[in-house]
Symmetry: C2
Subunit: 501 residues, 2 copies
């Protein structure tokens, strides 16, 4: 064994009493050498989730973390944890365990990983604090696989405590920066496990639905030669002897794929925004779920596909991730997410009328402020009982240069946003597929034509009418679960002030 590994294990052992030579149980516990793949093993490790009464009286091996331990005379009660599941384990002086072994078990630091051999025993009174309530493990052997340091930067029990409960009972909760600074531990809580298992599900449902609809997955470059959308809020990269930029969206590339006849494309990837926004819903790097699609005659063909994709995601989450939703709700209570089929679609002018009726003063061509977005969400919820809706026909003035103007009203555009619980999660539009009109609109926006030449040129050799949109993954996760900060739904969030871990 390399010297550091040996030293490390020695230090670990030193911190715990080594088994004395005259201990009759001395072979039955201890700190194992670092697993370097010394040998293969046929030993079957049973999942904690599978420890049920069907396994009563069987001897099993389990690998788990020490979630809590409590010594009490000649006994030590451990709670062993594996992801969202845990089970009680009892080490008691007897044939298998000596006094020293019980002491050893009691002294293993919380969050250490142990291999435990034990008999599954049915219990007569349900074990309240554990997910496996009907059985406990009677420990016969316990070996430390990886020892945690004694002082944890945060306690998992504090990290899953609901804020209300913390306030009412004067018990500790963990603030966001402490969580994020120690993300590896914070991600171990049942709440975090549930959030990110569900997020993996959102990606899966998004792709499943689109592949089923005949879409093709594409990969678009993130390093680009020119700031694609006007040059504001873009990160600069030094690129050998020159410089380049980080893509603010896959917009231009997914459109090029449409011009290249892929017809219906999607991609999932990072999106970069150099905005100095320190809000609950802005990140400098987030994950975009992007869609682009050629249509026949009307961009609503695309809007319907996108809305249906989101509906399929909502339904899939309800069906497949009920456990995760309930786990998160326990710490962060919220109303179940409501949606209609078909999806409610309002025109921007209708939304303006609703807001004005509620006393808001807004011009016809003003964009929605965040407070007005939220107010509108409440008004729509009251009137239509849905947490998900489309706002169609935005004023042309507040949309990017490549947005197709409304043929019926030159001040409007064929563009739309989609909202969950009153916050925007998708922005999209019919794009201009004619190079002359695109040039005119870019000039109107003061964009340097030289910089977007390749983009405009993509439309010179026949381009089908098309539309699309981009969804923010972290926002969808946050709003579906009724959470309040997008940092809760980004594993390693990036904002103007945070680049670590």
């Amino acid at each position: 064994m390399p010297s550091a590994a040996r030293k490390s294990q020695e230090r670990d052992r030193a911190s715990m009493e080594p088994p004395p030579a005259d201990d009759y149980a001395k072979e039955r516990y201890g700190v194992l050498p670092l697993i370097q793949s010394q040998e293969k093993s046929d030993r079957v490790l049973v999942r904690i989730n599978d420890l049920t009464v069907e396994k009563a009286d069987q001897v099993v091996w389990v690998r788990g973390r020490i979630h809590t331990s409590r010594a009490k005379g000649k006994q030590c009660f451990l709670v062993l944890r594996q992801q969202q599941f845990n089970v009680q384990a009892l080490v008691a002086v007897g044939d298998h365990a000596s006094k020293q072994m019980v002491k050893f078990a009691a002294n293993v630091n919380k969050e250490s990983i142990v291999d435990v051999e034990g008999i599954v025993r049915k219990v007569h009174q349900k074990i309240g604090g554990c997910t496996q309530q009907d059985v406990e493990l009677h420990v016969q052997r316990i070996y430390v696989i990886s020892l945690a340091e004694p002082r944890l930067p945060l306690q998992l029990d504090d990290a899953v405590r609901a804020e209300v409960e913390g306030e009412e009972e004067g018990r500790a909760t963990v603030n966001q920066d402490t969580r994020l600074d120690n993300r590896v531990i914070d991600l171990r809580t049942c709440t975090s496990q549930a959030v990110f298992h569900l997020q993996s599900g959102i990606c899966q449902l998004f792709r499943e639905t689109l592949l089923h609809k005949g879409f093709v997955e594409i990969q678009t470059p993130k390093i680009i030669s020119a700031a694609s959308e006007g040059g504001a809020n873009v990160f600069t990269v030094s690129y050998f002897k020159s410089s380049a930029y980080l893509a603010q969206s896959p917009q231009l590339y997914k459109q090029m794929c449409i011009c290249a006849d892929f017809e219906k494309v999607f991609c999932i990837g990072p999106v970069f925004r150099a905005e100095d926004s320190n809000t609950h819903r802005h990140l400098t790097e987030f994950v975009g779920l992007d869609i682009e699609m050629a249509f026949n005659y009307h961009y609503h063909e695309v809007v319907d596909e996108i809305a249906d994709t989101l509906v399929q995601i909502f339904k899939g989450l309800q069906e497949r991730f009920q456990t995760e939703i309930l786990t998160v709700n326990k710490q962060f209570p919220c109303e179940p997410f409501k949606f209609l089929e078909p999806t409610l679609s309002l025109e921007y002018r209708e939304a303006l009328a609703m807001l004005r009726e509620a006393g808001v003063e807004m011009g016809d061509e003003d964009d929605l402020s965040t407070p007005n977005e939220k107010l509108l969400g409440r008004l729509v919820k009251e009137k239509y009982d849905t947490d998900f809706y489309i706002l169609d026909k935005y004023p042309l003035a507040v949309r990017p240069f490549y947005t197709m103007p409304d043929p019926g009203n030159p001040k409007n555009s064929n563009s739309y946003d989609m909202f969950m619980r009153g916050e925007e999660i998708l922005s999209g539009a019919q794009r201009i597929h004619d190079p002359e009109l695109l040039t005119e609109r870019a000039q109107h926006h003061g964009i340097d034509l030289e910089k977007i030449k390749a983009y405009i040129d993509s439309f010179r050799f026949g381009a089908p009418p098309h539309a699309g949109g981009g969804i923010g993954l972290e926002r969808v996760t946050m709003l579906y679960l009724g959470l309040s900060n997008v940092r809760q739904t980004s594993m390693f969030p990036r904002d103007p002030k945070r680049l670590t871990p």
Copy 2:
């Protein structure tokens, strides 16, 4: 209609003869106004792929590109294309079409998009140049939806010509830079369509297999605060008033997810390498298919899962993408991809012995050069008849600092590469999960410990043994299809000299 759109359509019309007032067919052809979603339509557009004898004598609408056109007296033969499929269409003077209409059809620039109404007619002699060989369309109406410019930067027929054929027959082929400079057109060829539909399939099969195995998809940040793997070959980003880097791999983050108990994780995302390598297989930005997994006792548990995932991909491609494989083979002939079940695994020392037997001089701790990699591929193919194999137990000296040393031989390591057709597509290893040993190895490699503190600290609170690997998507696509340059399998490749389109 906005003035530019009007102007553009006027110019288009001007470039083609406008229908004269006394033309009896004048309503049956022309350039339509820009589709701005003026109205919805119930018209059903039939897919070209669906034009078969079952539809004989039916009147259908089709939207396609003008692939070729050939006027001949009172007739004009068009080939209409849709992705990989095409059909012959005939415009002939008669009840539906006037002389002027035939002339109009003949004058529409290649690659323009048209809506055509026609009767499906069975033909008596198979149409050789088309995928729909048994029918043709007798055109009754033809309208231009999007007019292409008259001069194409490359001809699609040249772009799909096999090089041998070009050389032997003295016919044009298209060189790589012309292709990449005009990627939107190059991607329209049946070969490109097949390559990227298959690539989408690789991603789909990768995820399907891993989700089925119980893996969780994660999203890892691309902007990082410290150069993760020693600082060489990393792109710098200006980050507000400070600077940051682009991740060279998701390595550290997927390991943190393992320390956070996600157990089995994967991700698909961009990977950045600031290497000034101008080879057939290096890109500065590529797509990584990454895997990381906690194991019980031996890292081969992970190697087996990764190899099986690749085997499932190979099988899935064979089953679901046979058409695409044949299409690519037509332009780029190659032997079918061969693999064994279970996957062949050789130790590094065995490979050395094979190479030495073939006359190569190499030290025990030397890394494989590219020519030796390829030679080894040929030797393995001869001996074992497989294009896919694992090379296990690399010398420790040639692997990254976080690689677990081999417990049986301190000069070796628990690390592996996987190869397709003699080129590396995956590099992986058991990682060191002990903070002391990790520190020792980082120091040995001269890495600034301060910069990787967060990484090392992730292992201080209990870490399971784990291993993983990263696969290059473009390389897998290239080598599976027997292509010769990774730029053929990246939609918009990035290398030291190319940042556009």
